[in-house]
Every structure is written in structure tokens, then in C-alpha cells.
Symmetry: C2
Subunit: 542 residues, 2 copies
């Protein structure tokens, strides 16, 4: 026995230890607030008691069909109530939830289903064509379950039975699976890498529970938020917000398509108080007619991540009365694990300065253990001088278990005991991190590093520009020079010269793009600009 | 290797797993909000950066003095900044913090210091007389450190050196202790049992971290609360609020003595938004002149626990504009682990109905796993009928490691895999628990159980009564009858007859006290009425 008196006869037991699981939040919401509205999809409103019962039934039905711990259940669905339920019901069966990006093509979906060894696929009519094709490619296809949303009348039912029929097979009063080890996998999220096969990021129960709560803390959320699903649930499990909404006994408002009209409509009718979205979503909302934004008489908080938000985009949202919180993270960190925590004294600054402060990625979120900007070779932190560039590293309980069936990539990601983000940033004197680029997106011109993000940020302030991406173009003299691909605001008359003039007025001259190309930007299925394609185009131009 | 693909090559490592510790909240507050005010004691205001540096130094100084993991550091101090710091600094040295009830006598303090094997005792001048006596009783006295609060000029310095001198021995830049196992002990709190030797309740890092956050969730706390220390820090580590205040980067406002004038003064000058207190504290605040309460222009939230609050006390506070949250727990559950979670629809009820709903203990707090009212022999839950009495049981991560050096009592407390609370309650149809009595406080009259709390609750509504306690008095005919010990409002003319008449108008006749005794109530050092003494007096009356 230990000599330490605090280790004698003080073991863990059933009374004082339980594995953390976000399903406990659902259980509590259903017990404490059984009649509060949990999910809304048009006129279909379900209480927390109903959602809990449905999840129990779905878990039981999956068990009856032979699905258990160690199995994978995939889902391809828009942001509707069934997708929300799956975040609880699938873990309650013991299986791992794999929510697949709805924008993928059949080949990519088939790759994921095969790699994840999915035994069940829950799908939605909207994606029936591509899913049917994907399933046909598989030697051992999963059991396909159709969500039959009455509000979506296109597409077809392609499965063996419907979601509701599966539910009906289950019992609501059997004991559902609870993990005995919080290190168990709860979900599996494939990253939509810009090159190569997607990697399967495995989340553990511990991280899912803690990030659900860390979200609340970062965002100052209290009980009963009304949350609108502008952020895809297939993105890092909607950044873990299904579990946050359960922890706060809030309301999950469905949204099949991210369009401005239904967003503003739901903000008004359902009194939505919270939503998340990439800067491009905010940009879309900024662009709509002011009449749509009138009559909002309550505070709406917006969390943005996914790409460094141009200060102009933040400024636009705040001018319309939205309170923007900027967060940053990776699929590997359950989504945002870094937050641009606000300081009250910054309220004194003007809106441009505020937006600039807010466009920085920030500091570790409350439940991430450590964040640093460091030299990727030595893991030596860079000075907090706002100018030395290093790579962002994280460590703590909001970091994935690793990549599924991919030990070498997992090892590389965790080399030295830190998660390597691949993002390049500076560390400001106040401890806030600001991304300058993805490692591979930095432009090196005449030996000077140019941050493509910084150049883009300036260009976004130019009124005639809707979207822009800057990449390196090979150059005999300078090595590389910045090349800007620009999508103008529709109908605007814009010239290369005026853009270059604007740049020269607003940045160091060596950073000014030498080449301007007009046109649409190629994007991944998650809306990220595919810079590797633009880099190829820039090479072709030389 | 496991057949489960989610267990292959996905081990814990330094990048994705860290033991939970509430010290991480201090570290973050100091990093993100270095200049925000962390502690206030009169004119002594320290920022989070300063508090963090002082804690680093204290931890380092303790290490230099040979204090390490497995050792105990005790403290006897009022609610001042040094006591707050000790909640971080002592764990940062690896040692376990033992905060001792300041109202204990020398014998009890000596017992605790010996039982806890304390190597260091941090003490405050206010308690110098009793502490000097206690230390003299010990064969191997601890190193005694004096807090020399300039705002307290009485008492004497009795230690080997002062707190600030000890601090000066430490370095702020050495690595402090972080637990590798979150099951490690962080603090040790002795229960002030009404009989027998005090028991040492051991808290683990995991529970301290989770309860700090669960507090936020229960209370709807967001960042930067200003928290006033009306609740003793020696009570379940101030119910874990030192860590909650760090997690929210709030401000900890010292309060040496719980008196109405400084409380209202600090609410106004420091804009205090939150404080906790037993119902007796609320009762004291209700009793003061209205002029003291004027000029409070912000919301003040009050959390109350420690005894079932009479509905009249809650009603009084809310009438003065305070928002009361009622919570319940035990030293064994890190303080409150049950909360009377509010339902918005209850706002429609009148203030008396609201107070009655709020006087119930409630439901499990967000991070407690399970709560039930059950038969103590069979552990079978009682029906949720609002009338069947059972014992309250808890389980989950907010339950202690156990009692120090007391395996048999630990085993008994955890029998059947649940923590036995010893409190008797009914379970309402809405799932809310309401305490009827401590097991030993129930009165059995003519075969009927009478809840002493219920009778007291009625008596508290009588305007001339300041305090009341009801116990069983042996009776030849009925077995037992209720006997009420009453402290009248000073200067009021009150008779036994009018009290009995009021009772007959307001409760079943068999519950009406047959005996009324006027006088002061005997209390423990933590302010709990010592019913065992009253029971003895009642016996002596027969």
C-alpha cells in the first residue's frame, strides 16, 4: 500500500466515479425540463422528453439489429432534427457516429463508408442520387435508413426502411449503453483534405463532454438558448453544439439550406439567439437588404470560425447588431479550441480597431490545456512579439484520439507531445494568436515571408470585391510573388489597376499582388477555397 | 490487440490527455486577463497576474520547505485574499489543502491537525488564542505561518514567519506541481458532525474541476462575476467557488465578518453580483432597515444552502430584488450537487407559490450523474408522489474520494454504490426532491411521521418568530410529540397560546407542537442548530 495517506482506502467506486458522456446532458434535460422544446423542424416541435424517448428507441432498435460498441453508424443529412437525435442515439447504442459531409461525391462517400466499416447508413432524400451510387460501389453495403422529411419533397427513398420505422422497432425503456471508459470513441469525422484520401478523426467521450461545456463558457451561454443550425452538423459534430444544447436544455432549430431569408425569418419567429457560421456565411448575411434585418429586437450572438474572418466582415455584422465571437480550431480539436476572448476595455476602441482585434484567433478556450506558437522543428515557443512566425500547437482534453487506422499520420500529428496544426501564426504581446497562413500558403518573395491572409484581408476592404484568394506565383527574380484571384461584386466595373493602386495605399509594396485574375474561386465541399488549384493556375500563368 | 478498430493505435498521450485540475483556470485567467482584478481586500486589490505569481511563489516556497505531494497544509483564516490564494497555491505545491472551521475550539483544531498530519498551518491573528492552544497540544507541531492582515489589528502573530515572508522565499518561475492523475486528492474538509470525532472528507482534482464548472452552469454565471465571500471558505472549499471565480476570471471580494452593513456596502461599491449564504444569513439581510438596501441598481444573485430555507426567507429576499437560487448538498458532495432548477413558467405564479417551489431542494446539478430518493435498505427508488419518504442518494463525479483514514465509515457511506446522504425527502411528480428531515430528526407521533422541517417552515411564517427548531419530545400516549424551541423577535410579546393557535390554523392538528419553549438555540460552529441538545432538553422536560 502507498505511504500517501490520501491513496489509502480511497479508491474509485460506483458512487464517486462515472465516465464523462454528453448523453448525461440529454438525460438531465429530459428529466428536469421534459416539456421544454428541444427540436424544431418547421411545425414539427418535440420536447426534451420526446427526443429522449426517441433516442432510447433508436438506440434499442440499433442494438436489436446487431449494432453495438465498436461498430460505426454513418449519417448523411442536412441540419434537421433526426441528425440532432443521432448525436445521442448512436452513442446510446454503443456505436460510433460518423456524420458525412453532404457535399461529397459518390467516390468520396464510398471511400468513407468502407474505411469506417459502417454497418448502418442513415440518409436523407436530398442526397439519394449520390448515396445510391456510393452504396453500389461497396462490396458489403450498410443497412440504409431513410429520413423522410415531409418538408423536402424531392429525391427518393432508397433504403430498406425509414428512420421512423427503425425507431418503432426499439423500446424506450431498456437500459442504453453508457461508456465505462471515457476514452471510448463517440464519433468519427473525416477531414476534407484538399489533397489525398480523407482522414478519419476519432473523438472520445471525454473531449465531447468537455468541449460541449467549453462552448458554453467561451460564448457566455446560460440555460435555454435557441440555437439555429447554420453550421453543418457534419463539421466536427456541429462543433459539438448538439451536446451543448442538451447541457443547457436549449432548443435546436433545423435549417436545411443556409439561405439568408429563412435565417432572418427564424431569428424573428423562433427568437433565435445563437448561431455559428464560417465568415462566408456572415458575408452573405451582410450582403442582404436591410429590410430583412429589421424587427430583430433581441440579442443575436454569432460564433464564426473555419477561416480567418476579414475584419470588414466582422465590422459589418456588428454594425447590424450581431455580437460576433471569433473562434478557431481544427477537426482534430473538436472544432474551435481557441477563442478570441473579449476584453471589456476594448469596447472603448472604434469599430475598425475592434474588428481588427476580433479577427485574431485568440487564446486557448477554457478547457483546452495549452496553446502555443512555436518553431515546428524545435517546439521552442516563438517570442510574443506579434511578428515572428511559428506554427500553432495545442494540447489537452479537446484533442482527438487520433486518425482511424492511420498510426503513422497519428504519430506525426502528435510528434513531441503536441498537436501540430499546420497553421502559421504570430503571437502578440497580449498572448493572442493571429494566423498568418497555412504552412503551405505562405508566399516567399525576395526572401521575405508574405502572409496571403494579410493581403486578402486588405483586399476584402475594397468595396467592389466579393471574394478573394491570394497564392504564390513563381517568379524568376523574386522567387515567388503574390497572385490574387478575385471575384468581383456582380455588376461592378473593376480593373486590375485600381486594385493594385488600392493595395499600394494599404500595404508594404513588396506584398502587393503582381498579378490579378478575375473569376470564380474553386472550393472544397465544405466551402474552403482550394488554394492548391489556384497555385497550379498561377504556375500555368507564368 | 483489440478487435475494436477504435481502440487500435489511439492511445492517450501528452497531446490529447491531461488530468483535470482547477489550477488550469487560474493559469488561463492570468494569461488571458492579466490585468483584471482577481482579489479585493479593502484597498488591497490584486490582478490575476499578481495572484498567479503569488501562488507560484507560495507553491515554490512550500516545496523548498519540503512540502510535496501527499503532505497536508492546513489553514485557519477568514474569507480574505490569502485564503483564496491558498486554494491554488497549496495544490500547486503538490500538497492537500485543509481549510479548518474558524469556530472550532482548540481541542477540535488539535484533533484535525493531528489526524490530517498537517506539516504547515497558515493562520490569522483573529484566531491566534485558540490556535496557539491547539498547536501546543500537538507532539509534533506544524510550521505555523501568520497572515498579517493590516485590516485586522487585534490578536497576535504566533508563527515562525509571515505569509508574505514565506512567499518571498519562493520563485515565481519554477514549474509547479500538476497532478498526473485527476484522482489525486486536492483538499481535505472535516465535517463538523453534531456528535463524535470530525470526519475528513477527501476531494479529488476531478471533482473540484467539474464542480467549479457545474456551479457556473447551475447559476447561469458568465465571465467576470464579482463574488462576495459571505460563505465561509472552510465550508466545502467555499463550495468550490474559488475555482469557479478563476474559471470565469471574476473578482473575489473579501469579507472578514458576515455583517449586513459591509455586505450592502460592498454590493454597492464593488458592484457585487453574486454571493452565497445559509438561510440564516438571508434572514439577517431580510431583517435590516430598508435604507441599507436602497441604491442597488444591478442584479444580485444569491445562492442559498446549508439548511432547508423557509419559504418566507426566500420570499423576503426576492421582494428586495435579490434573485435566489436554492441548492443542496453535503460536504461529501463538494457542497451543493442538487439545484432547484427554475422553470420559466413558474414566473406566472404568485410570490408565495414561487417561494414554496424554490424551497424544494430540486434536481441533480448539471455535473452530478444521478440523484434519487430511495428506501435505504433496498435502494429501491420511492414513487414520485410527493408523499412517500425515502433517503436521498447521489452518485457521480461530484462525490468525495472517501473519509481519510476511515475505511469502515467510507464503506458505509458508499454502500450499494451510492452515497448515503442521511437526509429524508419526498420525490415530487416533477422529479424535484424535497427534504423532510435528517433521518434522526423525524418525529413519530401516534405512528405518523411528522417532518420537523415542515412544522418549522410554518412557524417561520409567524411574524414574531425569529428562529425556531422543532424536535421530538417523548410522550406516553403518542410515543413522541413535536416540541418547538422558539427565539422570538427581540422586544415582541409572544405567547405559547398564540403560536399554537397559528399552528392549528396552518397544519394538520397532529403536527401541532404540544410544547413551546422560548430561548436561544444552541448551534454548532458552522451555525447549524444542534438538535441533539434540544432533544435532550425536551427529554428533560418530560
Amino acid at each position: 500500500m502507498s505511504n500517501n495517506i490520501f491513496e489509502q482506502y480511497l479508491e474509485q467506486n460506483q458512487a464517486n466515479y462515472v465516465a464523462l458522456t454528453p448523453v448525461s446532458f440529454l438525460e438531465r434535460a429530459a428529466f428536469v425540463y421534459p416539456n421544454n422544446t428541444a427540436t424544431i423542424n418547421g411545425d414539427i416541435r418535440r420536447s426534451w422528453r420526446e427526443v429522449f424517448e426517441r433516442c432510447c428507441k433508436l438506440a434499442s432498435a440499433l442494438n436489436k439489429r446487431g449494432i453495438n460498441r465498436g461498430d460505426t453508424v454513418s449519417i448523411i443529412a442536412p441540419n434537421i432534427s433526426e441528425h440532432f437525435e443521432a448525436h445521442f442515439a448512436v452513442p446510446m447504442s454503443g456505436a460510433v457516429l460518423n456524420s458525412i459531409n453532404t457535399r461529397l461525391d459518390a467516390e468520396a462517400i464510398a471511400f468513407i463508408l468502407a474505411h469506417a466499416q459502417s454497418k448502418v447508413l442513415i440518409t436523407d432524400k436530398e442526397f439519394s442520387a449520390v448515396v445510391k451510387k456510393a452504396v453500389r460501389m461497396l462490396p458489403t453495403p450498410p443497412l440504409v435508413i431513410d429520413i423522410n422529411d415531409p418538408y423536402y419533397t424531392e429525391g427518393e427513398l432508397i433504403g430498406s426502411l425509414s428512420y421512423d420505422e427503425l425507431l418503432a422497432e426499439g423500446d424506450s425503456d431498456v437500459e442504453y449503453f453508457k461508456p465505462s471508459d471515457e476514452w471510448d470513441a463517440i464519433t468519427l469525422n473525416y477531414t476534407s483534405g484538399t489533397t489525398g484520401d480523407p482522414k478519419g478523426v476519432v473523438y472520445h467521450y471525454r473531449g465531447a463532454y468537455l468541449n460541449a461545456v467549453s462552448n458554453m463558457m467561451s460564448w457566455g451561454m446560460t440555460d435555454h438558448p435557441v440555437y439555429l443550425w447554420t453550421l453543418p452538423m457534419f463539421h466536427c459534430n456541429g462543433w459539438c453544439f448538439p451536446w451543448t444544447i442538451a447541457a443547457t436544455a436549449g432548443t435546436s432549430v433545423s435549417l436545411r439550406h443556409v439561405r439568408a431569408e429563412p435565417i432572418f425569418e427564424l431569428i424573428k419567429t423562433e427568437k433565435v439567439g445563437y448561431f455559428c457560421g464560417a465568415p462566408i456565411v456572415l458575408n452573405m448575411l451582410n450582403g442582404v437588404d436591410v429590410s430583412l434585418k429589421s424587427d430583430i429586437n433581441h440579442t443575436v450572438k454569432v460564433m464564426t470560425a473555419g477561416a480567418p474572418p476579414p475584419a470588414a466582415v466582422i465590422e459589418g455584422m456588428e454594425a447590424s447588431g450581431f455580437k460576433v465571437t471569433h473562434v478557431y480550431g481544427l477537426t482534430e480539436t473538436y472544432g474551435p479550441s481557441v477563442v478570441c476572448a473579449w476584453h471589456d476595455e476594448w469596447n472603448e476602441k472604434n469599430s475598425e480597431q475592434q474588428a481588427k482585434l476580433k479577427s485574431r484567433q485568440g487564446v486557448r478556450s477554457p478547457m483546452l490545456d495549452q496553446l502555443m506558437v512555436a518553431n515546428p522543428d524545435t517546439l521552442e515557443p516563438v517570442p510574443q512579439d506579434g511578428s515572428t512566425i511559428g506554427e500553432i500547437f495545442m494540447r489537452g482534453n479537446l484533442v482527438m484520439k487520433g486518425y482511424l487506422k492511420n498510426p503513422s499520420t497519428t504519430q506525426a500529428a502528435f510528434k513531441g507531445g503536441w498537436l501540430h496544426s499546420g497553421d502559421l501564426a504570430v503571437w502578440h504581446s497580449d498572448g493572442y494568436v493571429e494566423i498568418k497562413d497555412r504552412s503551405k500558403d505562405v508566399i516567399i518573395s525576395g526572401g521575405e515571408n508574405i502572409s496571403s491572409v494579410e493581403v486578402e484581408d486588405v483586399l476584402y476592404r475594397y468595396p467592389k470585391i466579393q471574394e478573394v484568394a491570394v497564392v504564390a506565383k513563381p517568379d524568376k527574380k523574386w522567387g515567388e510573388t503574390p497572385c490574387a484571384f478575385v471575384t468581383p461584386i456582380p455588376g461592378s466595373d473593376i480593373t486590375q489597376n485600381e486594385i493594385i493602386r488600392f493595395c499600394r495605399d494599404n500595404m508594404a509594396h513588396f506584398k502587393v499582388p503582381k498579378t490579378i485574375v478575375f473569376g470564380d474561386l474553386p472550393k472544397t465541399s465544405t466551402g474552403k477555397v482550394q488554394k492548391f488549384l489556384l497555385r497550379q493556375r498561377a504556375i500555368d500563368l507564368t
